[in-house]
Amino acid sequence: MELLTFKIILVLALFLLALTIAAYSTWAERKVASIMQDRIGPNRAGPFGLLQPLADGGKFFFKEDFTPQNAEKFLFILGPSLVMFISLITGAVIPWGKTLNFGGISYDLQVANIDVGVLFIIGMASIGVYGIMIGGWASNNKYSLLGAIRASSQMISYELAMGLSLLSIIMMSGSLDLKLITEAQSAGKIWGFIPAISGINWNILYQPLAFLIFFIAAMAETNRHPFDLPECESELVTGYSTEYSSMKLGLYMFGEYVNMFISNAFMVVLFFGGYNYPGIDWVTHNWGENVAGVLSILAFLTKTIIGILIFMWIRWTLPRFRYDQLMHLGWKTLIPLALVNLIATGAVILAFGN
């Protein structure tokens, strides 16, 4: 099989995977919310309500899709499309598993193996702000504009904290390439002296504070509770997506779930060892490359889904941040903490030389 064919199949598979996981995230969200609130979630549309996302998608298709009177038509359509496009395209540089072997040639499970992977993802997250701003502006509605401005200021301030906490990981791994970061977490002794089985030398054991900062920043980036002020119903009448109906609203909401999935995948790559699972070298040695590859994909998806479940768990536990508390947290608390973490990491690297 040619490389190009494999890559095209991988792109299609990734597209379907991202959309399916986003669709079933909506189902899981409602189920997790319900069991935490002592009730049963959707259980009528198919067994355990598993066909509920299909019903929701169908509902969005059948609604009337209109544009408000003085809205800018091109920008109106561009906003949600941009959000969805950016969310999906960041999945192109994440290594989804170890290699798969077809006909004697090992194929990497990463669509684009560029050597500035981290920078690509951070850049795309910055463009994601555009999608929301354009949506809010093109609605020709001052409340949508207010919502969009608050959303964009929130996202920009938390991008700084995200980038600074990432710097410590990059300093540790020595490169921006996501494949190299993942490979570095598969071998070596934990903390330099505890010998362990392969595939468990995860970055979170070295950088717990960076993980915490990145987690909080990722929740704020994807406009997720408790930072969801831009899109909450009680504060701003759904903010920037007030004037949207039918498929464009579906794209906004769906784009948020795809964004959450990709943010979790990114977090797993950086902190939880990517596709590494304990014993990956032994499996590659004894059971062959394909089995190790498939198991690594499953391990990656399991960790991502656990991350998504933790996001949902936090959503239904905490009350919403007020806007000034949110900005205070971003600028005055997280950025100094990230800088302190950076200095500490630098000092440790200098002292131990590894």
Partner: protein, 185 residues
């Protein structure tokens, strides 16, 4: 001056370091939701009635859809006197009276009967004043639920839906006290 003795003095203490980080409180909160989630998955949701398989229990004298009863010989009790229409606070009952002919003696008790008797279920508030006002023990409220309809005019129930069928009498004696049972004429 204190209006009640339930007032609490507000404390304006500064947050301790443990409170300022938010994290211990967040973890405690997450523990509580986790406990609720585990409990719901293992033992089932505590206060959920999965309608229509399980119905919420109703009282014995719960007021539902009306019924116009017949006597032991099968004759309609209602004589279109209009006391129920006057008593109804929502003005939901309307009726048209008619005179009984010689051939209809087995259908109606007295000479006057209701040829058209309509209750607008959307107006009805199920208070039971009509049941209390009726001098002929004709109208009662049962524990049946009113069915779903698709437009407003279908909710105006006529005699076909209200008068009980001869072969399928609706038993309301469990809802009546002894004094009420003796008062049926």
């Amino acid at each position: 001056m204190k209006l009640t003795n339930r007032s609490k003095v507000v404390s304006n203490k500064e947050m301790t370091l443990g409170e300022k980080i938010y994290l211990p409180a967040i973890f405690k909160g997450m523990g509580i939701t986790f406990k609720h989630a585990v409990r719901t998955v293992l033992k089932g949701a505590p206060a959920v009635y999965s309608y229509p398989e399980v119905q919420k229990p109703r009282a014995d004298i719960w007021r539902g859809q009306h019924v116009l009863k017949r006597d032991e010989e099968g004759r309609e009790r209602c004589t279109a006197c209009g006391l129920c229409a006057v008593a109804c606070p929502a003005e939901a009952i309307t009726m048209t009276a008619a005179e009984r002919t010689k051939d209809e003696k087995h259908l109606y008790r007295e000479e006057k009967y209701a040829s058209i008797y309509e209750i607008n279920m959307l107006r009805c508030i199920f208070c039971g004043m009509c049941e209390e006002a009726c001098p002929k023990s004709a109208i009662y409220l049962t524990d049946r639920l009113v069915d779903v309809e698709q437009n407003r005019t279908s909710f105006i129930y006529g005699k076909e839906k209200l008068v009980e069928k001869i072969n399928a009498r609706i038993d309301i004696t469990e809802r009546q006290s002894e004094k009420q049972k003796k008062a049926v004429k």
